[in-house]
């Protein structure tokens, strides 16, 4: 379906209202990632219809909600060290990351009790998909990253998903093509582990079959996710 201004206008409104569903909604989310014009139209409606949300009477949530948030963000036993966010991507990607974050939300996987040796863990999720696409975790101390695909769908014919470490500075580092429907393990070099340890950021892009021909992402960045230290 072509992105005519009329279609963008009408689909953005229905997207925000929530009446756009299923495949149509997914296709529109891809449009949002691809085009700032589409995102601006969505923001327009979020602002306008958001005014309706401001009219609903307040309702005080029970205290358990805040305690639940605290437990999820800062599990008991985890040192309360001030974490500095390292979400500084290089310019081109930061735009895409913002776009991706519009439609992709990050979810913490169930956090087990704190163990002294740090492991990275996280989930790659997509709005509207009940289960995470992939669960990511690091085998303790072995410099190996494990990706378990849960709800991920195969890439289009002739395309592959490629996994990248997004460092705090510099270019993304390829971790190779990742298959769907299986557990996939990636060996991390010391350099890759250090880089990931600092930025804790992974991305998945859509590339030609076999992976990016240039060593840098060439296709759309589908997901950007931040890992957490367990």
């Amino acid at each position: 379906m072509r992105k005519t201004p009329e279609r963008i206008e009408s689909l953005a409104a229905e997207y925000v209202l929530g009446s756009l569903k299923g495949k149509a909604r997914q296709r529109f989310e891809r449009w949002m990632m691809e085009s700032v014009r589409v995102r601006q139209e969505v923001w327009y409606w979020e602002e306008k219809l958001g005014q309706l949300g401001d009219q609903v009477p307040d309702r005080i949530p029970p205290g358990s909600v805040w305690r639940g948030i605290e437990r999820r963000l800062w599990p008991p036993g985890e040192p309360a060290a001030t974490k500095t966010k390292s979400g500084r991507l290089w310019p081109a990607w930061s735009l895409v990351a913002t776009a991706a974050a519009l439609v992709l939300s990050l979810m913490l996987v169930q956090q087990p009790a704190y163990t002294p040796d740090t492991r990275l863990s996280g989930a790659i999720v997509q709005a509207g998909v009940g289960e995470p696409l992939w669960l990511v975790d690091e085998s303790g101390g072995e410099g190996r990253l494990r990706l378990r695909s849960v709800a991920a769908m195969s890439a289009a014919a002739g395309k592959d998903y490629e996994l990248w470490i997004v460092p705090d500075n510099g270019n993304p580092l390829s971790l190779g093509v990742i298959p769907v429907g299986d557990v996939h393990q990636v060996e991390l070099t010391d350099q890759a582990r250090q880089s990931l340890g600092r930025s804790r950021t992974l991305a998945i892009s859509l590339e030609p079959g076999g992976g990016s021909p240039t060593g840098q992402p060439t296709g759309p960045i589908l997901h950007v996710t931040k890992l957490y230290e367990l």
């Binding site: 005080i60 948030i69 974050a101």
Partner: protein
Amino acid sequence: MTTSDANQDELMKLLVSVARSDRHAFQTLYNRMSARMFGLCFKLAGQQELAEEALQDAFVQIWHHACEYHSDRGSPLSWMLTIARYRTLDLMRARTVRRTGGEEYLEHLEDQRGGPLDAELRSAGAAQLTGCFGELSDSQRDSILLSYYRGFTHDELAQALSSPVGSVKSWIRRGLMALKRCLER
């Protein structure tokens, strides 16, 4: 209930601090916004438990994504309400929430006297969007407001308004476009 610019400035400052991982600011933001957001989650879901879960998820997302807020995305208030609303809708769809009291709604709506939409919300919504809802037909306005406040699907709307799905879709589409034309004037 209007939100003054001063409040918006304050929310903006809190979001900036949250983006820098300031937990204290995050708790202040929660204290400031949770009742407002929870009101919307509850209105949509009609269920305490689901609304609580959606609110919790929304704040976890706000913690992680505060740095991605920018003014093109509307006021901090509407940005946060949008996150809460999307999360509630996601959970409702994932669980295919069945609303209670559907029959009762039907009776009200058939004779065009209100129904699941509180009269006050209807008039407040109209006033807020600079009277533009007044330019819509009753069916267009009700379909849009029921989708917004109650998360009704096309099928649910068709049932509630005793009309074919095709009509409902076209009321929503045309109503939204009429609303935009009016807002742009």
